[in-house]
């Protein structure tokens, strides 16, 4: 692939994604919409992973965002778009406060703590019935854009573009160096003058903000939030699997992984009504065993190998 192609490919892909609603019916749009939500989450998760911190709390911040948007819509009569921004702000604020404590943790301890936090958020929402509607959840009076399928799709796409834009910004700024250095070796990173905590905080708050925004968009698209639905562990595991299958530490990787898994799961469902999830699980196992670096990672390796031979 030449440099020119590599430069224009994202533009072509984005353009295709934007005009997709004019070529596809409502059903592919509805499928694409839920794939896009997972895709945006996958990209956001990868952004924090670049610092070496593995978050298992995606569903937590996604859920806070969903409830943030639903509650600001209902209680403050915020307009849908404002409520989505507030959703991001809620998640970011929670992440910022928690960050002071949990960003001191590493590896499995950070992972478990984020997992536990997501559970705690859910229990609070579940039990704080007077404010949050309790286990039965919240129904919004109307969908954003009056439920127009194309607009909903574009909104979901916007969340992906926002995530990709921030991810690209991470990759093109000093953050890339800071996060890579921290992931690589913290002592060495400090010796280069990197204030590790600050950069972890930036990454954590930014990705939580994104997850909040995505949660807000989700609730405005589907008009409904309940503790079981928006804190579903699948909102953690699915994006994680997507990013790994596509290839981590990059923007295209999670995007690719989301398309692969998202389309595969819907296609399998139509072909094998009973038991499609068995095949889905086997696909995950096989891809991890056969393509350990993920699709994009494998591609990058090949490009490198070719460059080395030339």
């Amino acid at each position: 692939m030449t440099k020119a192609v590599r430069r224009f490919l994202p533009v072509v892909v984005i353009a295709a994604a934007v005009v997709f609603p004019f070529m596809a019916g409502p059903y592919p749009l509805a499928v694409a919409q839920s794939v896009l939500i997972s895709m945006a989450l996958a990209v956001s998760w990868d952004m924090l992973l670049r610092s070496g911190q593995i978050s298992f709390g995606i569903a937590g911040f996604f859920g806070i965002g969903a409830y943030g948007a639903a509650l600001t819509t209902l209680k403050l009569s915020a307009s849908p778009i404002i409520s989505i921004l507030l959703a991001g702000a809620c998640s970011a604020a929670v992440a910022f406060m928690l960050g002071f404590v949990i960003l001191r943790l590493r590896k499995v301890y950070f992972a478990i703590t984020t997992l536990a936090l997501a559970e705690i958020f859910q229990v609070i929402i579940h039990n704080w019935g007077d404010f949050t509607g309790g286990p039965e959840g919240i129904v919004l009076p109307s969908l954003i854009f009056n439920g127009d399928a194309r607009s909903l799709y574009w909104l979901a796409l916007a969340s992906v573009l926002l995530a990709c834009a921030l991810s690209a910004l991470f990759q093109r700024s000093r953050l890339r160096f800071a996060l890579t250095a921290v992931r690589n070796n913290e002592v060495s990173a400090r010796s280069s003058g990197i204030a590790i905590f600050s950069y972890l905080m930036i990454a954590f708050v930014t990705t939580s903000f994104l997850q909040g925004i995505i949660g807000g968009i989700h609730v405005q698209i589907y008009g409904y939030a309940s503790p079981d639905s928006v804190f579903d562990a699948n909102y953690t595991l699915l994006p994680l699997a997507m990013a790994l299958l596509g290839g981590t530490y990059s923007t295209p990787g999670p995007v690719l992984g989301a398309v692969l898994l998202g389309v595969a799961s819907e296609y399998l469902k139509l072909k094998i009504p009973y038991g499609h999830l068995v095949v889905y699980g086997i696909i995950i196992v096989l891809v991890i065993l056969l393509l350990p670096a993920g699709l994009y990672g494998q591609y990058r390796k090949r490009v490198k190998a070719r460059a080395a031979h030339a």
Partner: protein, 401 residues
């Protein structure tokens, strides 16, 4: 005048001719990975096959297209989009979980395809989202709402106390699973029973969600000394709850379970004997209702075993109700089909004749009544309504053997 009449007749004929080609498509979504959803799909297919074998509807064959909603809102929405735009179905049916239905309502409103819903009991979310007539007239809700169920039980216990003078109920305790299903059961029961009875409740974590211990809720119940003890959880909780009650020596005069489905093998447990339950359909109705027997026999013939919950009977009924309405509407024209459905009088396998009447918000509510049953000799026997009673009530629950 005559010209106009001829024109209309011609249109009608052309329309009928177009209609005569192809099939009538019924679109459905259920969670196929769930046993109730799977049984719904099989029961609906059974009804479709029976109707087709008998010559179809208006000479057409029915075709059932089922999409798995996986019990998730976004998948449920995509399923409706597919059924509406790719398969272009004439009628929709299906659904179990309220959480899926509430996400589907906006998209269903967009297409306004005539729908016969087999699930979704949560009035506070689903019925509210549907809104009042005429905006929701295309929606025919077969399954009772949560408050319909509560009201029905209230009437049932009233009737039972009148018929059996030795049954005296003044205190009712509800142990409910902590999720949406249990909480809405509690809220609905509290609103209905609270006025007349001393009512209390405690929540527990269902085994479905990883719980394993009911002791806290059972202890609260034991301290309360209820005349009627009810639990609202899932099939997974049924036997463990009974076993723990026995271990704790908690034996209320009436012990009643209200899960959406019972485990198939629970009848074999001696602990289940004389336990009461709420439900809509049980194999014992076969003794009273030939329609039920026909449904049950053909279901067993097709699938080897009988259905584990009333949802199968509900879906089977939905297909017959739709087929009958299409017949009377002489087609699938939306307005005519709605009018035809409104006039539904379907003697169902549930042991009652289904009609559609207004509920609190929507105009077309099907079943409103529940049944009170009792496990006797490993079978669910109907106690109330007395018209379909299959065995006399055993009261009080003999203390644990």
């Amino acid at each position: 005048m005559r010209k106009a009449f001829v024109a209309i007749a011609c249109f009608a004929l052309i329309g009928a001719a177009a209609f005569a080609q192809g099939v009538i498509k019924l679109g459905a979504n259920w969670p196929l990975g769930d046993v109730s959803g799977m049984e719904c799909s099989k029961a609906a297919q059974l009804a479709v096959d029976e109707i087709n074998k008998a010559g179809g509807v208006l000479g057409k064959q029915l075709q059932l297209v089922v999409v798995d909603d996986e019990g998730k809102g976004d998948k449920g929405v995509a399923a409706i989009e597919k059924l509406a735009t790719v398969d272009k179905v004439d009628v929709l049916l299906g659904g179990i979980a309220s959480g899926v239905a509430v996400a589907q309502v906006p998209i269903m409103k967009k297409y306004q395809i005539v729908t016969v819903a087999t699930g979704a009991a949560a009035s506070a979310s689903v019925e509210k989202a549907l809104g009042p007539s005429p905006g929701s007239d295309w929606y025919f809700h077969l399954h009772p709402w949560d408050y319909n169920q509560g009201q029905s039980y209230f009437e049932g216990w009233d009737a039972i106390q009148k018929k059996y003078p030795n049954v005296k109920i003044s205190k009712i305790f509800l142990a409910y699973e902590e999720g949406a299903f249990g909480k809405s059961s509690f809220d609905a029961s509290n609103a209905i029973f609270g006025s007349r009875y001393t009512f209390d409740g405690a929540s527990f974590k269902s085994a479905l969600q990883g719980g394993s211990d009911y002791s806290a809720a059972l202890e609260a119940a034991k301290d309360f000394k209820p005349d009627l003890f009810i639990w609202a959880g899932y099939a997974q909780d049924a036997l463990p709850l009974l076993e723990q009650s026995k271990a704790m020596k908690f034996s209320p005069p009436i012990y009643l379970g209200a899960p959406p489905a019972w485990p198939t093998d629970i009848g074999k447990s001696p602990l289940a004997e004389d336990i009461m339950l709420y439900g809509m359909w049980a194999p014992s109705i076969n003794d009273i209702s030939p329609i039920s027997k026909k449904f049950s026999d053909s279901y067993v013939a097709a699938n080897g075993t009988g259905p584990t919950s009333y949802f199968a009977a509900l879906s089977y009924s939905a297909v017959y109700i739709i087929a009958d309405a299409i017949k009377r509407a002489r087609g699938t024209d939306r307005e005519k089909l709605i009018s035809a459905l409104e006039a539904t009088k379907y003697a169902s396998p549930l042991g009652e004749t289904i009609t559609f009447t207004p509920s609190k918000i929507i105009k077309h509510q099907g079943i409103k009544n529940q049944k009170i049953l009792q496990w006797q000799n490993g079978r669910q026997e109907v106690i109330w309504p007395f018209e379909v009673q299959s065995k006399p009530l055993v009261y009080p629950l003999p203390s644990w053997k």
